[in-house]
Each structure stands twice: as C-alpha cells, then as structure tokens.
Symmetry: C2
Subunit: 208 residues, 2 copies
Amino acid sequence: MTQAPPKAQPENPLPQRRPRADSQRNEEAVLEAAKCVFATSGVDAPVREIAARAGLGIGTLYRHFPNRSDLIAAVFRREVDACAEEAQRLAAEHPPGEALMRWLHRYTAFIATKRGLAAALHSGDPAFDALPAYFQAHFEPALGALLAAATATHEIRPDVAPYDLLRAIGNLSTASGADGADHTRRMVGLLLDGLRYGAGAPPPKAAP
Amino acid sequence: MTQAPPKAQPENPLPQRRPRADSQRNEEAVLEAAKCVFATSGVDAPVREIAARAGLGIGTLYRHFPNRSDLIAAVFRREVDACAEEAQRLAAEHPPGEALMRWLHRYTAFIATKRGLAAALHSGDPAFDALPAYFQAHFEPALGALLAAATATHEIRPDVAPYDLLRAIGNLSTASGADGADHTRRMVGLLLDGLRYGAGAPPPKAAP
DNA sequence: CCGATATACGGAACACCACTCCGCTTATCA
DNA sequence: TGATAAGCGGAGTGGTGTTCCGTATATCGG
C-alpha cells in the first residue's frame, strides 16, 4: 500500500525529456536583449523593457531568471566569459606584446560598462555573492597567460602579477566626474607604458 | 488699465512673514529621522518609513524635500557638517596628536556609513552634483588644521596632504566582502601608524 | 504519423514604491 | 481677535518587480 503504482510515475530525480528548443532559444534571447538594454539604459532598466526587446512575455523572462538580480548576474557572467575567451583569440592572432595590449584595452572597455553593476555588487543581494570569485577565476588565468607570453619575449617586465593589474585597472576606472573617461584612459595608458619599462630587451633573442 | 490696483498686492520679492515655527521643527524632525533610517535600513529605505518615524505625513516631507535625492543630499551635508565641526572640538580638548587620531577614526566611522551613498553619487542625479565639492570644502580645512597642529609638535611627519589622506581612507573603506570592516580597520590603522613614522621627535621640545 | 502530457508561454493581477494634488488646519500679524 | 497665507495630511497616480494560472506547444510513446 505504501508502494508506488507499477507504472505511470514520472521519474523525479532524472527528468528524461530533453529541454525544449524554444526554451533554450528564449533564454538566449533574454540574455542578448538584457545585455543591450543594460548597456544603453543601465542596470536599473525595467524588466518589462528587456522582455519587450526580446519579444517575450514577462512571465517567460521570470521563468528563466526568477528575479532581476539573477538576470543581472547571468549577463555579467556571460560578458566575463566573452572577454576572457577573447584573450585566447588575441593570443592566437597577434604577437604576445600586442595581444596583451589589445586585451587590456578590451578589458578596460568591459570595466567601463560595469559602473552601475559595481554598485549593485555591494547591495548585499545573495545573487551577486559568487560574482567576484567568478570574475577572478576567469580573468586571472586569461591575463596570466598573456603576461607570461609577453614576458617570455622580453616585451614587458616580469614582476607584475595578473591580479594586481586587474585590480589596478578596475580602480583607475572608478574615477568619474567631468573628465572621468578621459582621465581613466590616460591613467591606464600610463600604467601600460610602465609595464614595458623594465623589459629585458626589445627583440626576441638578445641575451649577453 | 494695465496697472496693478493701488493696494492689497502681496509683495512678491520680499515675503515678510517669518517662517512658521512648526515648519522649522518639522524639517529638523525629518532630517533626524532620515539620518536614523538611512543608518539602519540604508539609503534605499522607503520615504514613508522616514515620514512615519518623524511622526509626519508624506506630503509634509515632500514639501521640505521635493524628492528623495534632495533629502539624501541634505542628510549627507548635515553629517559632513557634524563631522567637520567635531575636528574643532577635538582640537580644543586634546593634544594635537591625539586629536588627529581621534578625528581620523571618527572620519572612518563616517565613511563606513556612506556605502550606499557612494553608489548613489554616481547615479547622475543632479541633486548629488555638488556633494563632492561640499565634502572637500569642509573636510580638507578641518583635517588640514589637525595635521598642521600635529606636525608643529613633531608628532607626525610633515609630508602628507589632507586631501590624499581623506581619499586614501575613503578608498581603503571600499573594501567589502566577508571581512570588509575588519580589513578596513587594520589597513587604516596601518596608514595612521605610517603618519607617525617620519616625525621629527616625540616630545614637544627637542631639537639638536 | 498522432494523440498524451509535461513543459513553457503570456500577460493580468498584486504589492510596493516615489511623487502629486488639494481640502483642511494653524501660526502669524494687523 | 479675526483674516489669511503658509503648512499639513493622506488619498490618488503612475510605474516598478514579482506571482499566478489559463493557454499553447514541443516532445515522445504508440
């Protein structure tokens, strides 16, 4: 009597049906729409606006992201992934020094779009708790590889840790106000010149 | 015909009646209530909560502060005033070195309550535009006087600018996370020890 | 190929927010 | 001590994030 009937019991622990294709497509559409809306209107943009841009109902959006902060966190992770992957691509397509410089500018652009998000990070919402670790786990190896390659060719000095550089650029980018963007660009440029300052020797092979 | 009637025209440019006593009392009550509510619930606390704590209607609150950000800015200015005034009080009641250290800890406490506000400052709301200047205009002379006095008695090194110290403590206080408060306290302590490091000589009179 | 059914969709409805409006109250002053 | 302008209170407005549930549809056993 306490046993389940012989059949017609849906297996709870292992749902067998593969996820619906439209569901995956819609989640993708929401993320893409949210990325655009956050970029243009900031992270405080209404959820309805995102749903509208994705061409979906609000209910659908909330099915995929139970609340606003989950959506913000998902978009953030997605952009971290994209930026970190670009490090590999740049390393494959350019010489080490140039790949490094290109990526650091790419990273600066990434940080620049995260002004509002930095504030949200300190809001205490548990959805954001894991983001700093995610950030570090992806960017530190990405930059580490670029730095190692550029160090090996003596294009940059060898004594700069990836994490320090990530943080320094992040902090420089918090400068805001009238000429905030300009000030950031100049200061980051100065920092990157500093990277090249103590290099061993410009050409690939030159050792006494 | 186009002229005004000979009398009974209220003078527009110079309102003669002195402001009503209850109005001043209520404005004061709103500021005090807002200070408490912001401290306990953060700057995102509902306006209704502040009005309720002040024992007033919402309309009354909005009569004094046309919108939320005006109220936040007013509370901020008020706390800046209180903290800056305390510098004078401490200078009068303690020897220069101790007055300086006590005030810097007071300032650190002030900064600690401004986590959410720092985010609001970058929100683009024009009500906050003048706050950084207000901040600097009050704190720089306050700290400058304390530093000068402590430098004169050789209790601290003479080469630290007030503005740098204010900013450094502010930036150290942005460290958040698991042990954010603790980390801030340790780092600020270290910074203040650094202040004493290069002093000329401990006692007031000792010159070779 | 074709129902059966779990899964996903859509948007009306809800709770809460900042902010407005206007009839009523009250402090000020002649 | 009125007359009257200034101030007060809170219901109302418009907009937000989030929930709920009837409807539509992709998947899969037959």
